[in-house]
Each structure stands twice: as C-alpha cells, then as structure tokens.
Amino acid sequence: MTLPGTGATTLEHQATGRTDPDAVDATLAATGDAHAFERLYRGHLARISSLVRRMLGDEDPDDVIQDVFVRAWQKLGTFRGESAFGTWLHRLAVNVILGRRETLGIRRQRHLDGDAALETVPSRRTTPEISMDFETAMERLPDGARQVFVLHDVEGYRHEEIAEMLGLATGTSKSQLHRARMALRRHLER
C-alpha cells in the first residue's frame, strides 16, 4: 500500500477533549488505514461530487472526483486539524479542479462579456425538477462566471478568496458574479 504522509496530523479530540470523527479518521488514514479513508470518502463524497460537477460544467466529473480523493490521500500528512477536515478537503478539491482545467487548456471564455454569457444560458425547461433545472442553467454559464458563482453563492467563499484562487482581481470576481446572476435571472424569466 502506498502510504500518505504520516505523523503530522494530530488527534484533535485527544488534546482538546472534543470529538471529531473526521479528525480521527484523517489521523488513521494518514497512517495508511484505507478503511478510515473510505469512511472519509463516503462522508464527503456528495459534497465533493457536486462541487466538481458544478465547477466543471458538462464534462465527465468522475475522473476529477477520483483525483481529488487520491490527492487527499497523498496530502493527508499536511492536514493538521487546524480547520475541519471538510474545509481542508474542499479547498484541496478546488485546487484540483482548477488545475485540471488548466491542464486541459479549457479556461476558455473566462472573461466573457456579459452579453455573451446571457446568450449561452438555456431557456427554462418544463420539468418540475426546478432545482435540477437551475443546476442545468448553471452548467451552461461561461466557465469564469460559473466558477465565481459556484464558489461565492453555492459554496460561500468571499471574493478575496475567490480572486486568490482564480488569479483574478477582486473587482473582476464581483463583476463575474453579477453577470452570472443576471444570466440566471434571464433564464428564470423565460
């Protein structure tokens, strides 16, 4: 078995009296316990899967989801329990997703202007699955606007954090977010 880094993670509950199952499992996983890592995988899979799917749009997300968890396994030694494991994993996932996009050279339309963004959003479907319809509309946003929208409105990152992650000016992050919202508004109006 290929072991991740060991020894750096601490059992937070031992030091503080708090009980955090994820921290325990992260510690076990960092010593090579694949069962503990599988528990972490299953506990966080839905959130990571949704993040990948929303950030990547219509591309096949499965490979990237696997990449996220393999990278997490390799990097477990750097998790020190200073934040929740889910927060650490989420940030790692964002980095993997963005790296994947750069590798594939698909940072197209990052700074697409607002009018073009509006044109790419599909019209409302008649399906009663409103939230799924909303997800579909998100998928059709231009890459840049979609990434900012997902990170800010869905995932709750601040513009300063998004700007750092995406290599943008904060003002650009704000304008991309507004364009994405306005594009989705037009979609909802149809």
């Binding site: 009980t19 995988y41 506990g43 949704s50 507004h178 508004r185």
Partner: protein, 235 residues
Amino acid sequence: MSDQWTDRLSEYLDDELPPDERSALEQHLRHCAACGAVLADLKRIVTRARGLEDRPPERDLWPGIAARIGAGSGETRAIDLAAARGRRRWSFSLPQLIAAGIALMAASGGAAWLLHPAAQSSVAVRDTIPTTPVVAGGNLSARNAGDRSRIAGQSYAAAVADLERVLTQGRGRLDTTTVRVIERNLATIDSAIAQARRALAADSANVYLNSHLAETMQRKLDLLRQAAALVSSVS
C-alpha cells in the same frame, strides 16, 4: 431595463458597497420599480443557490480510488477469493464462509474485545475477514458450515447490538455534531449492506458482492467500535 445602479445590485445584495453608495442606491430603490424587481430576482437566485442539495455520483468511485492508492481493494479481494473458490472442495457458499469469519471474530472476543480498541489494533480487526477462506477451508461439512453461518449471523448481530447499546447510552456525552456524523455514516453503511444483500439475492455466488458485503459489515463494526471508544474517552 438598465441604469447606472443595475450593475451595483449584486454588491448591494452582498453588503459590499461603501456606506455612501449604499445609501444612494437605497434612495434610488425607493422610486425605481425596475431595479427593485431585479434585486428581488437576484435574491431568489442567491437563495436557490444556497439551497442546492448535494448528490453523489451515479456510480461508486471507491474501487478505482482504492486501486490508485494501493489499498486492499474489493477488486483485489475478489481475485483472491475467486482463486480460493476455484480451489475449494467444500460445497458451502461464500456468504457462509464470510459469515463464519465474522463469527470467529465476534465469538473469539465478542463485543468486549471490540469495545477495547487499545487492546487490539484495527489491523487485527480488519485482518479477520481475509483469513476467512483459509479458516473455513478446513474439514467443515456443508451442514457444519450452515450451522456456523447461522451462528455467525447471530454473533454478528449480538456484537452490533452491544455496540449500538453502548452508543445509545453514551450519546448524551458526545456533542451533537459527532452524533449526527456517526448516525449519518451508520445510515450510509446500513444502506450499502441492504443494497449488497438485495444484489446477492439475485446473484448469490457473485464473489465481488460477497466480498463487498463482508467488508461493509466489517466497516459497520469498525465504526461502531470507534463510536464506542469515543463514548469511553469522554466518560
């Protein structure tokens, strides 16, 4: 519709406008119905975005991840079991073999053993099931295997019940987040066990399914043992 304030509505909504601009925009909103309508729509969009539900992928990606990290994956286990199955001369099924392994684990130490992880490493727990074909491959008759399977099921259920009782009695000592995580994970595992059993009902000789069921049952024991240890640590 668009005016000088339209492009500032998101910043207003996110409370990111400087005080003077915020005040000016609020003045504008008092008499601009169009901007008010856009703002209401933007609020709806933000609310909807925050309320999106997460969902897992359509297929389980764990086997691929396990293979890539070099863990003892179900695939590897299935190959081993398939080889063992090809060599075997006895006539009982893999579920019986697996159940017998669980019985040995449960009966050899029982819940008390499971409740004291310090006395037994998790590796030792995990290693019980892989030895199953060897242990069960002795001189067991099919009838004995059937008896052992029944006993194994009873022992497994008893061990799980003991651990669940510890967790129930001690849950008040754990914080609510921890309890919620444990219960969610248990529900996930129970669902996986139920799915594996349903699949085995249609294909009882499937090596992968048998291995997957055994591993999932083992995971439930591991999780319960860990939860019991947490209860013990805060007592």
